[in-house]
Amino acid sequence: MEIKLIEAQIEAILFTIGEAVELERIAGAIDHDEETTRKLIHNMMDRYEEEERGIHIIELDGAFQLCTKSEMYETIIKITHIPKKHVLTDVLLETLSIIAYKQPITKLQIEQIRGVKSDHAVNKLVEYNLICELGRMDVPGRPILFGTTEEFLRSFGLQSLDALPIVNPEKVEDFKLEAEEEMQLKLDI
């Protein structure tokens, strides 16, 4: 049953690395000479074809790589195009409201208000095109400043940030300065 095991090892190696792996390296890992290793891999290649699998091994200049068969292309396009369901969860709503009324704001400042790490929520909101990067704050580390998108304003029938109860465009600069001062203060301590 030795061969079965070696083949499993080769499959696992090619799978994990994902790129082309030189015959030499594979041989070293499974502790066999290159000639034997090559034969084993060629056997495996034949089997992958016979069994009409979705993936196969290709040989590239003495290296081997596991990849999907070209016939599978259509199916793969299909799955990446299946729309995912997007929902505004409580977490997202909360984060969005903070960004809407405190923009421009850094992730750290959001986290200070919410009391928890908020990377996930911020990333999702960017993905949903509700918020975007406005620039970077001029403090060490140059953290990204986030604000709402035009799309967001449009959806609420707002012409500009003016219409948001607290924030207006002139104030944005003030906020930014204020925030920078605060940040500086913190760093000084």
């Binding site: 793969i76 959806s155 109860p165």
Partner: protein
């Protein structure tokens, strides 16, 4: 009786208690509360943590232990219908629950070890497919969310944040750890007794500066009762307790069983 434990090696009061119970090889359902309380207090006395938050967590447990200890020293109220609840029961339940989670976390640790040996592949989606990004329909996503509602959410968060700031504590400047010396306090209480002979328990406690001092004073009183150096009287429930100092001298800590 000093126990040598690695300082600050414990995750919290429950962890320390379990250690003491283990170390003394006693039954978790029948904790010798006096012994454990003494060792516990001894331990936190050695704790040199400057972290007030950690210290206070250990002190809360100390207070619980002293409370249980005092309940156990008092004669059980004679009630016929009600079954007398062991004052230790609640603590035992907490300890068992905590012990259970410690056990589970060991199990999970093994599982994680095994699972970490499975390896995954990074996505290899062809570039032209990866470049495709479906448009998110913002309007649909926002649904019937109104600006007013968004503002309400924001206000409630701001309010919540304001609530978090404790008006009393935020006025404190610096809080320093004080040293309450058990040996010294034990002697001090006796000196007090020798001077006043008959005195109010409440007055004695009121003269203490801090919670820790109150705890240690209370412990000293319990110890003095145990070794027969004082006598206490109480007229009615919740009345002040009158303490009479019986001895004519003062014993040192080492002679007592602390």
């Amino acid at each position: 009786m000093s126990i040598s434990v690695k300082l600050e090696a414990f995750e919290g009061p429950l962890d320390l208690l379990l250690h003491l119970i283990d170390k003394n090889k006693v039954n978790i359902y029948d904790i010798p509360i006096v012994v454990i309380t003494e060792q516990y207090l001894d331990y936190i006395k050695q704790m040199e943590t400057k972290n007030l938050e950690i210290m206070s967590e250990f002190l809360v447990m100390a207070a619980t232990l002293v409370n249980i200890k005092s309940k156990m020293l008092l004669p059980a109220p004679e009630t016929e219908e009600e079954e007398v609840v062991d004052p230790r029961q609640e603590l035992v339940e907490r300890l068992l629950e905590y012990k259970m989670y410690k056990y589970i976390s060991e199990e999970l640790k093994d599982k994680q070890m095994d699972a970490s040996r499975a390896l995954y592949k990074t996505p290899s989606i062809p570039q032209e497919i990866a470049d495709y990004r479906e448009d998110v329909n913002v309007e649909e996503l926002l649904g019937d969310l109104t600006l007013a509602r968004l503002h309400d959410i924001f206000k409630s968060i701001v309010k919540k944040q304001a609530d978090k700031i404790d008006p009393i504590r935020s006025k404190f400047g610096k809080i320093e750890k004080e040293d309450v010396n058990l040996t010294a306090k034990f002697t001090q209480v006796q000196e007090y007794g020798l001077k006043y002979r008959r005195f109010s328990f409440r007055n004695l406690l009121e003269a203490q500066m801090s919670k820790m001092e109150v705890i240690v004073t209370f412990l000293s009183i319990l110890e003095l009762i145990k070794i027969g150096r004082i006598q206490i009287e109480q007229e009615g429930l919740f009345d002040d307790i009158i303490i009479t100092y019986l001895a004519d001298d003062i014993v040192q800590m080492e002679e007592a069983s602390f």
